[in-house]
């Protein structure tokens, strides 16, 4: 049946070419916005200065010249922040996409199942009580946030195991823990001094201010090592979207996939928000938009969510940095301002619906 083979290939190309175009478009968008973001800012640098500064450091043999001030602004202030925006957007979006897949619920994200509020509680302990396991000062906060984020995943698993690791038990355990940790954080805020309270509140805004290269390396290393492992489950997640019965009879060990992707998504999320504070909504918005546009095949959904999450967060942070410069609005706040209307627009105007 030569004819049907060609036809099948044609249909498959029709199905996949749009998705490949989408990811290419998003990648080009990221590069373009990154260039704009590195150029604009409080200090007025010319395009040439910025360009030379980047070239001088990346390709020293080309002999481009750059001033010390320009180098400091571009390499110490702007670039780490931009790269962190990309990693954070990508990581939070892919974590959301993977969790939604394993739990068959388009509303689940690292925020809904309490990872973010657990991290906030960890950070608050460090800021209010000065207590923590590892590090001191800034690192005490970071390590606490990270460890509590991870702790949340273990608690969810521990609770869910009692009745069997299904989507429902994981979500219910996660939501319960989210409220628990939010309550605990509120308690700490209640007993905190003015100064401590300000620090906690500021942390919870979610901001990329003061991002250092070492933060970028750590968050990036965690993200890049977990992403391929998560991607490996793409086909399993596709089958799980049709329910556990079809997944199991397609050869998927659903419990294993749920636990592993929960752990991987938690590591990625905690590795990011321990540096940035609460940036949560991107984990629901980006995968949702991607689902609306390219559909639910996780082989494409996961990388496209990474790309779109990175793009959205980078745009939000660049706007936050410039809209009322020299004041910088934290990216978490800006994201809600532009992310929510954009998201609602898409949900309300696209014909596909999820809740049937």
């Amino acid at each position: 049946m030569k004819h049907s083979l060609e036809e099948a290939e044609e249909i498959y190309v029709k199905l996949t070419s749009g998705k490949i175009l989408f990811i290419l478009g998003v990648l080009i968008g990221i590069v373009a916005i990154a260039f704009i973001a590195v150029y604009i800012g409080a200090a007025n640098l010319s395009v040439k200065e910025v360009f030379d500064t980047i070239v001088a450091k990346m390709f020293p043999f080309m002999g481009a010249e750059s001033s010390k001030i320009a180098t400091a602004i571009v390499w110490k202030a702007r670039l780490p922040r931009i790269v962190m925006a990309i990693i954070a957007g990508a990581g939070l979006a892919v974590s959301g996409a993977a969790m939604q897949g394993t739990m068959k619920n388009p509303l689940v994200s690292p925020y809904t199942i309490g990872i973010v509020s657990a991290a906030a509680f960890g950070a608050s302990i460090a800021m209010v009580l000065g207590a923590g396991l590892v590090g001191s000062g800034r690192y005490l906060v970071i390590m606490n946030a990270f460890l509590f984020g991870v702790l949340d995943a273990f608690l969810i698993y521990g609770i869910a195991r009692i009745r069997g690791v299904t989507a429902e038990t994981l979500i219910l355990a996660g939501i319960a823990l989210m409220f628990l940790f939010s309550g605990l954080t509120s308690f700490l805020q209640y007993v905190a001094s003015e100064e401590e309270l300000a620090a906690v509140v500021h942390w919870m805004f979610g901001s990329l201010c003061g991002t250092r290269w070492e933060d970028v390396y750590v968050a990036g290393a965690i993200f890049l090592s977990c992403l391929p492992l998560l991607m490996k489950y793409s086909w399993d997640l596709n089958a799980m979207a049709l329910g556990d019965e079809i997944a199991i009879t397609s050869g998927v060990d659903t419990t294993r996939v749920r636990i592993y992707s929960l752990v991987l998504a938690t590591l990625i999320t905690s590795g990011i928000i321990c540096f940035t504070g609460i940036i949560a909504f991107v984990g629901i918005v980006a995968p949702h938009i991607v689902r609306l546009i390219i559909g639910g095949d996780h082989r494409f959904l996961l990388p496209c969510s990474c790309g779109l999450g990175a793009l959205l967060l980078l745009v939000a942070d660049t706007i936050g940095r410039t809209i009322v410069a020299p004041i910088i609005i934290p990216v978490g706040i800006i994201f809600s301002f532009i992310g929510v209307p954009f998201f609602l627009y898409l949900v309300l105007t696209k014909r596909k619906e999820y809740w049937r």
């Binding site: 249909i11 086909w235 979207a241 019965e245 397609s250 050869g251």
Partner: protein, 258 residues
């Protein structure tokens, strides 16, 4: 033998759902499981495909003990059409049927996989809607997509739970005819839970009456589909007719136990 079930027991908590069920199915055979709600039809299917863990007894698919197989190995020889599936994360028809190829592929989709998917979709009359979203389909269309998905898995044993429950008259016949022709042509085996006794008798080589988790009677449709069995198992007084070569049941009245 494609499928051998020996002395299978299963209980939900303390409530027994299956008690020493033993049966076997040859290649090219279609077997219907019939019986009232809660008689253990779905439970038996789920014990065969390992959604439920066997508590006692053995299940052999192609002479292999399923409890010793990896899930993926089992999925290469056995596929399942569940009663209902949620739409919470929709996908296109082609992509859903493609999931049937999952046990056979690692990451890349080969041209053979794509061809199998398309062939099955055209056999099922779904070719026009390959790019449609699953949540835009009618109940019957979606049920056919799920059957297509299970067939794309190219199983040796096909399990179906109420495969015609959402289908209209024409599609019931079409789908069961198609399943019959695939079973005979590829010499595989199918076992389906059915509510419609007329359809079950018409399309199966063997019928198994389940009652309270036990096999009450089993055999060729014309020998086991009797007014007595229907009365004992379903608690319904019925007339069994033969019309144009097909067995035809006319339920008369519900009767109390006994």
């Amino acid at each position: 033998m494609k499928l051998k079930i020996k002395d299978v027991n299963f209980s939900y908590g303390s409530r027994p759902a299956l008690e020493s069920v033993t049966l076997s199915i040859k290649e090219g055979e279609i077997v219907s499981l019939v019986g009232p709600n809660g008689s253990g039809k779905t439970t038996l299917l789920k014990c065969i495909n390992r959604i439920l863990k066997l508590q006692k007894g053995t299940v052999l698919v192609e002479e292999k003990d399923i409890s010793k197989l990896k899930l993926k190995e089992l999925a290469k020889i056995l596929s399942y059409v569940p009663q209902s599936v949620s739409h919470s994360l929709p996908s296109t028809v082609f992509e859903i049927v493609l999931i049937g190829r999952k046990p056979h592929l690692d990451w890349n989709v080969s041209s053979r996989d794509k061809e199998i998917v398309l062939n099955i979709l055209s056999l099922m009359g779904l070719k026009e809607m390959v790019l449609r979203q699953s949540n835009e389909l009618s109940g019957g269309e979606f049920q056919k997509v799920l059957i297509a998905r299970a067939l794309a898995q190219e199983p040796q044993v096909l399990l179906l739970d109420e495969p015609t429950s959402n289908l209209d008259l024409k599609h019931q016949l079409d789908v069961l005819n198609l399943i019959t022709s695939i079973v005979k042509e590829k010499n595989i085996a199918a076992i389906m839970a059915m509510h419609d006794l007329n359809l079950a008798s018409r399309f199966s080589d063997k019928m198994i009456f389940l009652n309270g988790g036990k096999i009450y009677d089993a055999g060729k449709p014309e020998t086991v589909l009797t007014a007595r069995n229907i009365r004992k198992v379903y608690g319904v007084e019925a007339i069994v007719n033969e019309n144009a070569g097909y067995i035809h049941i006319i339920p008369i009245a519900s009767v109390s136990e006994g």
